[in-house]
């Protein structure tokens, strides 16, 4: 993470030049009104409004229906989970004060925090936990991130503040999964109140520091401080999330003081923002790995030497510096460092000579390959793909880059091997909680398309064996070692061109403070407050 502050932005002269050109254009239809207010960014002692510019219009406020981190981030103000990851990426209690896993790994016992109430006055108790956990395994409900909870066999309230969860098999990642917004605790009474139904749950009622206020489609979401919150009281009475899809406009909202904070500025402006002393920039660490998946079924790419060659051919750091404007960290393992199970595995330093030699050994010299990339889904995705293609051409390969909108992209890469026509494609993968389990789905036969998104069709009996052991290993140290060993084999087999973990940039006005981020691409701004 870096936070850089320096001199004023240098863009004023340019905008003035533009201004005079525009004044000419607008001569006939003047809009100048000096009295027009620039809306107040939230400031002032105690109370007030804090506003955040985000890019995605929420699809659903039902915690169980979440797919995007931005929307989860908003829901998290209202709905809390049983456990959370703290600032050291350690799992700690939240609505559950403590948790315990039985010797055989099949019973999880939670002791709940006493005296917590939902926003509608319903007490948060063992019964509420049972209701929520049974809800997210209900087949009638669409739960996109529901797979880690399929191991739940039964949920038994022992007394008001104790819950026992029986699992169908030991599941070491289960506790961590309870930290995902999907497993957020909503008031059982609320699924039939305020226009909600169990299947169409649009006004969430949780236990969080803020209550759900209002949602204007395409415009904003407002949450209000909850007076009876069990934890530390936040500073601001109201938090407004402004939905603004265009990154440059979000940046303008911040620079004009119309919001206090924004996520995801245009990366090409990062340098200017870092030089602007009115704002602070946080390039937060993210667990999203970006990679080029190589079709290991392809006759040319089935040889690990050919795949290693591709890894040596690309200068990842140069692309990060020049195409991603520094907003990424080059991978040194098949997963992000923030995950449980990560260990530093290796590196493929830029070595075109070695790449050529390996290609020759694999008989893949001058091979013709298509590189498919989404456009605008990941930071500078298409631009990075173009740069990668350039490096691959330098070692004698004939590479063409193609792109399409994301649903069409997904249809192509998620096809069964017999119908799959993609040699290589750029993809991002972000585990919803910080455990290697979700990442390792990318390297297992069980999740080959169309069943899952292990789109390089990679499998290795040794890796399958190690991961199967890790699935049920309850000893943390041993499980960590199993993932580390599997990572080493995967790294050498190179089913991907390992690229980087992308950063999650957050920018805020220096008038406010108390803002940070979690490695799951979420901001923590509940305890934001005026800086002075």
């Amino acid at each position: 993470m870096t936070t850089i502050r320096a001199r004023r932005r240098p863009s004023r002269a340019r905008s003035l030049a533009a201004a005079s050109a525009l004044a000419l254009l607008l001569g006939a239809c003047t809009v100048s009104d000096p009295e027009a207010p620039a809306t107040g960014g939230g400031e002032g002692g105690g109370g007030g409004t804090f506003s955040i510019a985000v890019g995605i219009d929420p699809d659903t406020f039902d915690p169980a229906g979440q797919t995007t981190t931005t929307v989860q981030n908003i829901v998290d103000y209202v709905v809390e989970t049983l456990v959370v990851f703290d600032e050291n990426d350690e799992l700690v209690g939240n609505l559950a004060e403590s948790f315990e896993v039985s010797e055989d790994g099949r019973t999880v016992t939670l002791v709940l925090r006493d005296g917590v109430v939902f926003h509608d006055g319903t007490p948060f108790d063992a019964e509420a936990v049972r209701f929520n956990l049974e809800r997210i395994v209900d087949p009638a409900l669409t739960v996109p991130l529901g797979s880690p909870f399929e191991v739940i066999e039964s949920v038994t309230p022992v007394d008001d503040t104790t819950v026992e969860i029986a699992l169908s098999r030991p599941s070491p990642g289960f506790l961590s999964a309870l930290s995902v917004t999907t497993a957020g605790m909503i008031s059982p009474a609320s699924v039939t109140a305020e226009g909600n139904t169990n299947l169409e749950y649009q006004r969430p009622v949780g236990t969080g520091p803020y209550t759900f206020g209002s949602y204007t489609a395409g415009e904003s979401v407002t949450v209000e401080k909850f007076a009876d919150y069990w934890g530390e009281e936040p500073h601001y009475d109201t938090v407004v999330f402004r939905v603004v899809p265009e990154a440059a406009t979000r940046e303008s909202l911040l620079l004009s003081g119309q919001v206090d904070m924004m996520i995801l500025p245009p990366v090409s402006d990062l340098e200017a923002l870092q030089a602007n002393e009115d704002v602070e920039v946080l390039l937060a660490e993210s667990d999203r790995t970006i990679f080029i998946a190589l079709d290991t079924n392809d006759p040319l790419l089935s040889d690990p030497r050919a795949r290693q060659a591709l890894n040596y051919a690309v200068d990842k750091q140069a692309i990060v510096d020049n195409v991603l404007f520094g907003a990424a960290e080059v991978l040194d393992a098949p997963m992000a460092p923030s995950l449980f199970g990560y260990c530093e595995t290796g590196s493929y330093d830029h070595d075109p000579e070695r790449a050529r030699q390996l290609l020759a050994e694999a008989g893949a010299e001058g091979a013709s390959l298509e590189l498919l990339t989404p456009s605008g889904r990941y930071v500078q995705d298409q631009q990075a793909a173009e740069a990668i293609a350039g490096y691959l051409r330098e070692v004698g390969l004939d590479v063409s880059v193609s792109t399409s909108d994301f649903p069409s992209f997904l249809a192509r890469v998620n096809a069964a091997p017999s119908e799959n026509t993609v040699d290589m494609h750029l993809l991002g993968w972000a585990p919803p909680f910080l455990d290697a389990d979700f990442q390792m789905q990318m390297f297992r036969q069980a999740t080959h398309p169309p069943a899952g998104l292990a789109t390089s069709f990679y499998t290795n009996p040794q890796v399958e064996e190690l991961l199967a052991q890790a699935d049920v290993e309850t000893d943390e140290a041993r499980r960590e070692q199993l993932y580390c060993d599997a990572s080493q084999i995967i790294w050498d087999d190179a089913p991907w061109i390992f690229l980087w973990t992308q950063s999650f940039p957050i920018v805020w006005s220096t008038d406010v403070t108390g803002i940070s981020a979690t490695p799951t691409e979420k901001f923590s701004a509940v305890y934001a407050r005026p800086a002075n």
């Binding site: 603004v244 004009s256 119309q258 998104l453």
Partner: protein, 308 residues
């Protein structure tokens, strides 16, 4: 006016066939697009069982014919279906977003018409003067500037540098100024050029010379004898532009975070939310047809010689 009334009734009846054709086209176009709606909606991390369950819920496992049948019978009973993405009724999704786009298009059209016609008349009357050249140059800029770029420049100037106007959203009365001006830029330029050309043609007519010869005041000559006769092609351009603005506000809505229907359409295409896309396209088609009828009536009002 009976002829006109009959014409309108005939147009409206024919438009039902048009709408039916539109419904078939958009239905089929969505289905040939690559991309499985269930997979997109369920998210990258969803399991195959979840995806196939969702496919079933959305009715995507049924035959095309039966899918179309339930869509069209729904439309006929006033039910546009349910959004797969938000699980809200499509009709209410559209009802929430349509007013924002309508207001934006109306304000932009008013700006475009008033400024465009004024500039066009001015340019025609002062033909080959400095004023004419200036207006022509600005109009040239107006038709060639990308909306995206113009919008961002306006935000930089009026929101960031001067701090006069909101940069995005629709929450304040002045929020509409920048998006409306941005959206109006192209049509203003087009309308002014059309007005100028049409005026020049009319001003060369004998009856203008007659009016001048009998001593009518210059403003009367220009507006009453000139503009009114030059107005039919201008009206056509204005109405076409209004239609284009309804559908073409997507970029402006995106740049300014304006909560209109264009953004909803793009978001819905991106999410393969078939029901919403079908609903919006039908509403657009109906709005276009209605607009044409209104313009037909306006022709009669502007030029009483026109009969249907």
């Amino acid at each position: 006016m009976t002829g006109t009334t009959a014409h309108i009734v005939r147009t409206l009846l024919l438009s039902l066939i048009t709408l039916l054709g539109v419904s078939v086209l958009i239905f089929l176009m969505l289905r040939v697009l690559p991309g499985d709606p269930a997979r997109v909606l369920a998210g990258l991390n969803a399991s195959e069982e979840q995806v196939s369950r969702l496919r079933e819920q959305l009715g995507l496992d049924e035959s095309l014919l039966s899918q179309y049948w339930s869509f069209i019978t729904g439309v006929l009973t006033g039910d546009l279906g349910q959004s797969a993405r938000t699980s809200r009724p499509v009709a209410s999704e559209i009802a929430v977003r349509l007013p924002a786009t309508l207001i934006l298009a109306v304000v932009a059209t008013v700006i475009g018409s008033v400024v465009g016609v004024t500039a066009g008349v001015l340019a025609a009357v002062r033909r080959n003067s400095l004023v004419d050249h200036a207006i022509s140059s600005v109009a040239m800029m107006g038709v060639s500037m990308p909306v995206y770029w113009l919008g961002l420049l306006l935000i930089l100037l009026f929101a960031v540098t001067l701090g006069w106007l909101p940069a995005a959203g629709s929450g304040e009365p002045l929020s509409i100024v920048l998006p409306a001006v941005t959206l109006a830029a192209f049509s203003t330029a087009l309308i002014s050029r059309m007005t100028r050309a049409s005026m020049l043609e009319v001003l060369g007519q004998d009856y203008i010379r007659t009016a001048q010869a009998k001593g009518a005041a210059p403003p009367t000559v220009i507006v009453k004898h000139g503009l009114r006769n030059a107005f039919i092609p201008v009206l056509t351009v204005i109405s076409l532009q209004f239609g284009a603005l309804l559908g073409g506000a997507v970029l402006t809505e995106t740049v300014f975070g304006w909560p209109g229907i264009g953004r909803l359409l793009v978001d819905s295409i991106g999410a393969r939310d078939f029901a919403v896309v079908q609903g919006i396209v039908l509403v657009y088609a109906a709005a276009f047809i209605l607009l044409n009828v209104v313009v037909d009536v306006l022709y009669v009002v502007v030029d009483p010689r026109i009969r249907y």
